[in-house]
Symmetry: D2
Subunit: 362 residues, 4 copies
């Protein structure tokens, strides 16, 4: 397969560059007879869209998604769903400066070497603008999960670290996530971050972040060992997001420092016949298969590579050069990665739910 | 696709359980005219095989691999390569105790719920025994890399943390890796670990580990954005290994705490016309495509779930139970994950090398 | 994988219904640096588009294709290419009659039973309108073939049978194909067919056809045995076209009646070191791999199922009913299948060319 | 994907050459809890195995299949099933003559040109010996169909034409198929064929054949439009079999000569609420989706290319040469293609059944 698609049974394939006329995708494999309209997707796109606070890029994109196919009289038909978002606020002139130089930390150099050509306007295909389509596809995935699983699946995410500053997990309150511009579940941390990020922004600098995404209501049994484990596909999903450099499930790297006794999630009989777990170090996945507990995943986003401080680089002819990246950039791209991470988790779950139904029924 | 295969153009598909008659795999897509014999694979299998020190399971498996097809007169023919390893040291009686109970941290419960049946002998399909086939496939992948890339590619790995104990990276010496039973590049740490792990082992406990794998000589340009990025596939490859809970590339989670200035890998003109990078925070990958620098990846392995301390659990009928896992277990499964991590990285690189040649030539 | 995509390395994924706002596709895996503009694709779309003679549907669709991504400054960038064609001439009111009944020979009944819902307007997703995107993708495939193969590859097709009336192969003249509304290479047959089809059309009836597609200039060596043989993928490509019921390569069904002596394509040394074949019974493929001779394929298209004669059927409630299909229909859908067959052959060849380059280089 | 695997959810991947130590495959995606033992597969392998009459090759292969994994205590576990058949009767010395020459009609030349190397012993990987693994995989597919579909699915095949000699379809009697060495459903034709084929064999010549395979009991709704239609995958499945040059569904090529009125399969209310069809011109598939009628498919096998009459050819150095193929060959390879065609149809149906369950449930 070539690289612009994701998923097996629930599969979406995207196209589009930051400064082209439009971005879009085809979502394939959706079960029929699910209620679906554009507003169902728009709600998630609005969470990701730029320009909602001073802490994100000031590019103004309404990101209005259109459903072009696969839905008839308000219901999915089981055929492929075409989605389209027109780009409306491209200022290509911002990019004249970087046309011949490679921005450190960006994909400029590697695209150039791989393809011998690159659309330098706003990063072209390597732009995080592509993630809008993931969010739209994720909206459909959520509908599938809720359609097929009694009680539904809740997929949600939060920023748990900005730059070096972690939240205090004791303060975790999901209701806070919608109350601040950072998707932060800790009201106190959100306050501190506002000041911190304002400083970063004014300095023309940037910072990274860690995002946590969780899914509740996932039934036991999802995952296809041994190479398409549920956590394998989650790792892949998150690492495919722009600027992500690390992924962990449950305890993640911390697990390495624990003893077997500490790490074991003990079981005891639960009220409904299913076992209850005394802890969730595993992040809801054992042997690549969901346990019925919450799926817990974290991923790290590196600091935005577009900064105002000049950096050493080379140009297309191999000459030494300096570069600083003007334009409208997120000082912390990790913020807008929260809805993207949620969307990717929903897509993985929808895909695995159908794969499980295929092999094992339910 | 179903779950027992890995890779697109270079693809292997495995079968076999811990206590069945044999494990095996089919390796598909190998370029023709590469010298290949069993000894080329055996050298890596010998690194992974059990029973080489008191720090790994005492199961005695020679792990002799047979090439059943795809090689003619010492050269690959371009057709699929069948590999087989017979299981010779199964003691199924060790597993009578766990037949009806679910071991915490293991896949017992999830396999049972997913499939309604499980081969409880030694974990069946969920056993790390499966990784022997990855190591064999990885041996072929290395041959492909060396055949197609001038100067070859060096893929190597090391244990950089055992339990809570990290190496001192200033002591890093690749030559040390073969000098101790831990694949540890820091002679001093290896000494400390020997004492530490002996204690863990005698206590019937276990510990986790962090492994670092690196690839040198990888040309710029490998990776298929946006969903089959090189790091995406590396994340997937590592997370698919038994007991792995986290993966990071380059700075990984540390990147979140850096500023954009710190994290940027600056470039300057190099002696051969290619740019030189001042650092490698990116771990050799930008925008999902290799930069020509070393690929650097780390992953965390949780502590072995088989421990001698009794843990609470339930049985197949939902009754409360206690379990302790006797038998022959690795106190730190992370050790033997080093050659597995190397193999998986080699497989990803071989696959992407061919995918790159397909689209862009070279 | 779900069903709306075709190909491995050169892969396109389509969406859209006959009477929705637009149809479109994503073309993935295209090599970079190939000159491409909309006019390169429009030329083939114009061959397929309806309303060009009285022998095709009178629906008026300009079928103007837009390239939305993947091309920068006139050259492919190696990233996914989004294509869009707006539907401009939908008359949904034509379809009120068939809303609750199943048209024999159409997909009405099967879609209904599979999905529990169907877009009845013009056949919805099952409409041959979808083939416009195949033709567009085929246009890109041709560019790839010409870019990567010295001398280029010529893919062309012709109608060789209309209803029961076959051409006289002795009259074969490729230049005639563009001179009549049937893509017929035999001027005499074309004349006869005009009268014949006029009769069919006026009677409100329909007829089938046989199409032959050929590719010249294909190098020896394309094809991936044993399940992705070149002929395997050609068979799949042609059978996926609407209304196709049969496919054959070279001698096809005739081969069954020949002796081994008759069927063997003997070889002798050729002027350029490559062997010359005395015949091409194999249709240019041996053991699933191209021989360097012309690829020759034929496929049969059944008569258009939309006819004016009433047929017995049932409705959604299981009641007996009669149906006749008014509207604007091709009396012989096989005619417009010629450019579609060419396109699919080009797509298969482009895919296999890249797969061959991946494994074997060139 | 590389070429040695078939199927999406039910997927098998094969390896092995005619004269290597063994052939084998991995069958992936099998639902759990299905009764399975080697004898279930052996019954079909015995139908395909050589040496059962004077009309097939005298190579003596017991073709004893071993199940190496994926089955525990007589039931499938849902994990991958490894199958192995040892080659026991290789006479490689038979092939010294053809080592440097290319046999017309065989894959010798194309493999050589593609790979630069070939295992010339018995055709190596291009040998029809590989089809034994298809038959074994098909045996598992049948078990899946019977496990998941109430009443089961009956997949059966017959030879309907040998050389130029067709059966009389009025004489069709399925019970005859097991009564003669040709899988012929027409007792009279079988008698004639015996004399005919004896003449062919004694003359050192060969002939082709046409096989028909049918499946009864297939539920309505299987098939994934538009590129993974049920007939698309059947076409692919049959064309992938060695020596096959043509495939048709239902009326196939005959459909081209019919009028729309003749070709329409009318429907009327049936006794169980499902419609009854007045005919089955469609071969049980409309719009790529099964109708609930019998699936009907035919494919043509070319005459065996190994004949005793000398043919002109070239050698590896490009010199003119003559070749005749001694050894133990089937005068009509089409005969043993009957169980192979059945197996491939069963595999396609099992795959699509699971794909349908994934998307639409049942």
């Amino acid at each position: 397969m070539s690289g612009n698609g994701f998923g097996h049974l629930f599969r979406f394939t995207t196209f589009g560059e930051s400064h082209g006329p439009a971005i879009g995708c085809v979502v394939d494999g959706v079960p029929p007879m699910i209620d679906l309209e554009e507003a169902d997707l728009q709600v998630y796109l609005d969470q990701r869209k730029p320009g909602t606070s001073k802490f994100t890029t000031q590019r103004r994109e309404p990101d209005q998604v259109k459903i072009l196919s696969g839905v008839f009289e308000g219901k999915t038909t089981g055929t492929s769903i075409g989605l389209l978002i027109e780009n409306t606020d491209q200022r290509s002139k911002d990019y004249g400066d970087i046309k011949d130089k490679f921005r450190p930390g960006h994909a400029d150099y590697t695209y150039w070497e791989k393809y011998g050509i690159r659309d330098y306007r706003g990063g072209g295909r390597s732009s995080a603008r592509e993630t809008a389509m993931r969010v739209a596809a994720g909206g459909i995935a959520r509908k599938i999960l809720d359609h097929l699983i009694e009680g539904g699946v809740q997929v949600r995410g939060a920023l748990v670290q900005m730059g070096p500053h972690k939240i205090n997990r004791d303060n975790w309150d999901w209701d806070q996530v919608g109350q601040n511009p950072f998707f932060c579940p800790d009201a106190k941390a959100a306050e501190d971050w506002a000041a911190y990020l304002d400083g970063v922004r004014k300095a023309g600098s940037s910072c990274g972040a860690v995002i946590e995404v969780q899914a509740s209501g996932v039934p036991v049994g999802l995952g296809a060992p041994v190479y398409d484990k549920l956590d394998t596909d989650i790792a892949r999903a998150m690492m495919s997001i722009n600027a992500v450099k690390a992924v962990e499930i449950g305890n993640g790297f911390e697990a390495a420092a624990l003893s077997g006794e500490e790490n074991a999630d003990e079981m005891r009989p639960g009220p409904d016949g299913k076992p209850e777990f005394s802890s969730n170090n595993a992040g809801g996945i054992l042997g690549g298969i969901s346990t019925g507990q919450d799926i817990v995943c974290r991923f790290a986003v590196k600091p935005t590579s577009s900064i105002l401080t000049p950096r050493q680089t080379v140009d297309k002819d191999g000459n030494a050069a300096e570069i600083l990246t003007k334009g409208r950039h997120d000082p912390c791209v990790g913020i807008r990665a929260v809805p993207v991470g949620e969307a990717m988790l929903a897509c993985v779950l929808a895909d695995h739910l159908m794969r499980h139904r295929a092999q094992c029924g339910f």
